[in-house]
Subunit: 400 residues, 2 copies
């Protein structure tokens, strides 16, 4: 018997995504692929019916008979929260597309499987007034050690304050230490900040940050992939970290011990072609040892000491260039050589993928991924469901 | 009337070089070129006679009638010092050749003229038992702020102690702050350290370091291009810095304000293809601001936090590889890919230049300059007056 082909209602879609968010742990590619292929309603139906196959069947087995989707949505409403799905206008499409592209690239290159797959979320539980896409349009992650020193907390707060003052959204994990200092610095600047937490919104972890989370939920956003009553677990922190890295143009690590989870966030950001920056500290401090290691591990990871330097790195293709662009006769002249090269890699007509752009212009795929969001911000390119293409304006400007 | 062609005696050569070291400020290319062309005795004769032309005439005008060469040599002897010249076996040939190569490269590439020319010294006044070439065969510069913090001094001393313990010579400028801490750390490890000072050996500057200089002169080396009674002057510090950079495989900057002379040393080291490393510190410390700026200025400048990391960077082609090499069937297999590529750029027969190697193997000239000393240490290549060539052993090993 084939399934009746009927377009599910928005309410059905939301309910299905709520169900999926509890039925399987986020970040599993097999589930994401099934949802992409058959849609969330049909994917949920198959999983509940025990009709899913392969990896999905195994992933769904434990919780497939549980159905708290309606109750979860009701509880979210009671908490003042909402479930944001890819079908919603505020879904942070572009940021999450980078995650998907990076995953495809790693699969294509045969990169050994990582502990955390770069799989976009199926839905996000959100609490707070800003639209997700708007809050994350210009966002930087500031992350670091839970056992931060007063030095690290001071620097994180200053940095976040400076970023917020310049109109950027500070994203972090709501944890003790650097995370909290970053959120507080941003709030002190009167700007929204986004906490991506590893458990549910009923009692965001850590509970001792209840007051901080209330302020973030009032002026910024609390975000999570987990249903309202989910408890934080070790692997959920890692899965959460990939989201912090994906949702931001760059990740700044302020203090991290050699085994800090902040380093995992940084490595995931690198996998997605995001900027990774480290704030140095005394070499005699164990809380800076992880940052220094990170800086030594990859020339792409750069030293930053203050907000303006962070924006030099992550904002280079955005603001600064946007300013220069207004003055240029041919807007392409204002582009950095690399961005110009990437732009030249797009076909005049039709859509393309970052990988094809890379092959076409001879720029490494990671650099292409880095350049595209800036080029989009400047109005040269746009992302469509089918891929990247030149904007009508860019097509109208003859290339030299 | 043509000059009588007669080979000058060693004593005449030494006297001429002593005279030149007082007659002109060191680091002037025109003088170096004349000395290279006609030899030190004839160069000095022409300058004294007012027969030099062009830039040399102008440079020599002020002091050409003064002759204290014999007195300077006598004073050096009285101080227990000696004048080391390129004619001596202990002259640190290889290190200074890198300076010359870098100068030629900059002239070739039309690099705008720097305040300090990368011109080798005409002679070096030296005080201390070690041979220059031996003391400098494995040497690292540790430099930094005169107004160092206790943190910086602690780190410099630890770093120098660690380097010395591992058999490396610590070179610095004998100044207050980081320099002194570095020298003391090396001395504490019972290893020679080299202080390159910006004035004469009669009363090395700063005088408050009299005790330190006596220890360095007893167990290590005091070095200078200036005659015994020369006083330090601003430009002499800059000229001295180029020598610190040239004589070492890498320069580590430990604390530097934004205008610290240590940054000039680092920039000169980069011009010569030397490794430049920075020890980070608190971003709230003005004494680390210059180091962080340096780290941000060039991806080639890497973060280091301890001696082992310094040697990972500067010693990579030397020791570590030498160890691996013993285990390898074909010694070339032990080489880093880049070093291997450089090696393959040398002709099987005959000499070549770093620039030609660069063109032949497609590795940037700076990288070639970095790789050659290591390849020489490993016995793959050797430097002759006519240029670089494969050693007989390397020629005997068939390339794969």
């Amino acid at each position: 018997m084939t399934a009746v082909v009927r377009r599910p209602s928005p309410a059905e879609v939301r309910l299905a995504r709520a169900w999926l968010s509890r039925a399987v742990e986020p970040g599993r590619r097999a589930v994401f692929d099934l949802v992409t292929e058959v849609g969330p309603v049909e994917a949920a139906r198959r999983m509940r019916a025990g009709a899913a196959t392969g990896a999905v069947a195994a992933l769904a087995a434990a919780r497939r008979e549980e159905d708290r989707a309606a109750a979860d949505l009701a509880e979210a409403r009671r908490l003042g929260a909402r479930l944001v799905t890819p079908e919603d206008a505020e879904w942070p499409d572009e940021a999450l597309r980078a995650m998907e592209v990076a995953f495809d690239r790693e699969r294509g290159e045969g990169v050994p499987r990582h502990q955390v797959e770069l799989t976009p979320p199926l839905a996000l539980w959100a609490l707070g007034p800003p639209r997700l896409d708007e809050a994350l349009a210009r966002a930087v992650a500031v992350v670091g050690s839970r056992t931060a020193t007063p030095y690290g907390q001071h620097v994180a707060a200053e940095l976040a304050h400076g970023l917020a003052t310049r109109g950027w959204t500070v994203v972090s994990g709501g944890a003790f230490g650097i995370d909290a200092a970053a959120h507080r610095g941003a709030l002190a600047a009167g700007r929204p900040t986004v906490a991506v937490v590893a458990g549910g919104l009923r009692e965001p972890y850590p509970q001792a940050h209840g007051g901080l989370f209330r302020r973030i939920g009032r002026d910024g956003l609390l975000l999570t992939e987990f249903p309202p009553d989910a408890t934080p677990q070790r692997h959920r922190f890692l899965v959460r970290n990939r989201l912090v890295a994906a949702l931001t143009a760059g990740t700044v690590v302020v203090e991290a011990g050699l085994r800090s989870g902040a380093l995992a966030t940084a490595r995931q950001a690198l996998r997605m072609g995001r900027r990774v920056l480290g704030v140095p500290g005394p070499v005699t401090s164990g809380e800076s040892a992880g940052v220094h290691d990170l800086l030594r591990s990859d020339p792409e990871v750069r030293v930053v000491t203050r907000a303006a330097e962070v924006l030099e790195e992550v904002g280079a293709l955005g603001d600064d260039l946007a300013d220069r662009r207004r003055a240029a006769a041919d807007p392409r002249d204002a582009l950095e050589p690399l961005a110009r090269q990437v732009l030249d890699g797009l076909p005049t007509v039709g859509v393309t993928t970052p990988d094809r752009i890379a092959r076409s212009c001879g720029v490494p795929a990671l650099e292409v991924l880095r350049a595209l969001p800036g080029l989009e911000l400047l109005g040269f390119v746009e992302m469509t469901p089918a891929g990247w293409q030149l904007t009508p304006a860019a097509r109208a400007t003859p290339r030299r």
